[in-house]
Symmetry: C2
Subunit: 220 residues, 2 copies
């Protein structure tokens, strides 16, 4: 999504909010735009130094919708035993722990069985080897299938009546439509309102970046 | 699924039916086992003759769960403009029309946009070129993404209260669970009770062959 599209989404959300405050009946007030995540890697400073050389700086090629996050020029290969996936994109900025996020079909290619996890929850996740231009790192854990999640600001969360870590379902229309269960809400002032799914989910449901889906709050 | 697994599924269905007839409360009486379809091709006699040589006979390597259907030793390449997918499996026996069934992620690789269709409903479907060992065929139509569907015998259909062509939803449990909408019921005495999904659906929902899913009848 470029800056224009992001501005349009923000304006749409704000206009819908004002209309709702003015008493209008809006059927899609729980709609959220979709962002499809391809496999990617977040690196720690230490692992970046090993893979690319001490003091290396990542090269941003594109801002992502989540403020401060960006896609980098750099790609690396990942290995699980003798199986590999080449040219996996690195996302910046640097994080505390290195984390490799793949889809279920990627996991099948690697013959790996990583857990479905929220970002940063790496205890007991799968091992993975990352090979960069300078050296490799063998991680004892760090390979996950990212859970389906929705990023919300506190303002978004208040508007749609959701809390941090609340689990919801999400309805998708269309010929290959249906419902995603176990979608985790994550609230932070630094976020941009968007649901993140992986490429398997996008293919199965026939949806693409910026398609709108509907949040269904589960009964308590 | 081998013969043992098929027998177990049949016995399970019959026992559940008898228990239900005897008045038992069974929460999973609408459960159906899943069969995951990888990309494949059904050939007409004429196209088989072109691709493999006149009078060629397909070589069965494995019976499928649907009676009379089988996987063949033979694979062919498919082309859409300059994009291709190699070694696509042929399923027997011969059909009236050639039909190529791929997933949404396959369609993305080919940069094709085939419709989601029931088997045999090829009017207005996408063109595709098939290349065999002897020659190629350029089809004006025949490329589809198979719709999600459930095969039922008339006896299965009566037991679960469904009709031919009825559209239902199907619930999937698990961390990547959810609901498949737009699932078409197909009833024939020649069928084996099974839900067919493609590899994208299986990956997105974290399910495999013989996992059981729950049919949800939509309100009329």
């Amino acid at each position: 999504m470029n800056t224009d599209e992001r501005a349009i989404n923000l304006i749409t959300s704000l206009v819908l909010e004002e209309l709702k405050n003015a008493g209008a009946t809006i059927s899609n007030s729980y709609d959220v735009p979709v962002g499809v995540s391809n496999r990617h890697i977040h690196l720690s400073k230490s692992d970046m130094d090993t893979l690319f050389g001490y003091g290396y700086k990542l090269n941003k090629i594109k801002d992502l919708n989540q403020p401060g996050e960006y896609a980098c020029k750099e790609v690396v290969d990942i290995y699980f035993n003798d199986r590999s996936i080449k040219k996996v994109r690195i996302l910046g900025p640097i994080r505390k722990q290195t984390q490799v996020e793949i889809s279920s079909s990627d996991a099948r290619k690697l013959r790996a069985n990583p857990p479905v996890r929220g970002s940063g929850k790496l205890d007991g996740s799968s091992p993975i080897t990352i090979v960069g231009p300078k050296d490799k790192v063998d991680l004892k854990q760090g390979l996950i299938i990212a859970n389906r999640h929705i990023h919300l600001t506190p303002r978004d969360a208040e508007r749609v009546g959701l809390k941090d870590n609340q689990v919801v379902s999400v309805k998708v229309c269309g010929e290959k439509g249906g419902v995603f269960d176990n979608v985790c809400c994550r609230v932070s002032p630094n976020y941009f309102f968007e649901m993140h799914i992986d490429t398997d989910d996008a293919s199965a449901f026939g949806i693409s970046n910026n398609d709108r889906v509907e949040i269904i709050k589960n009964k308590d």
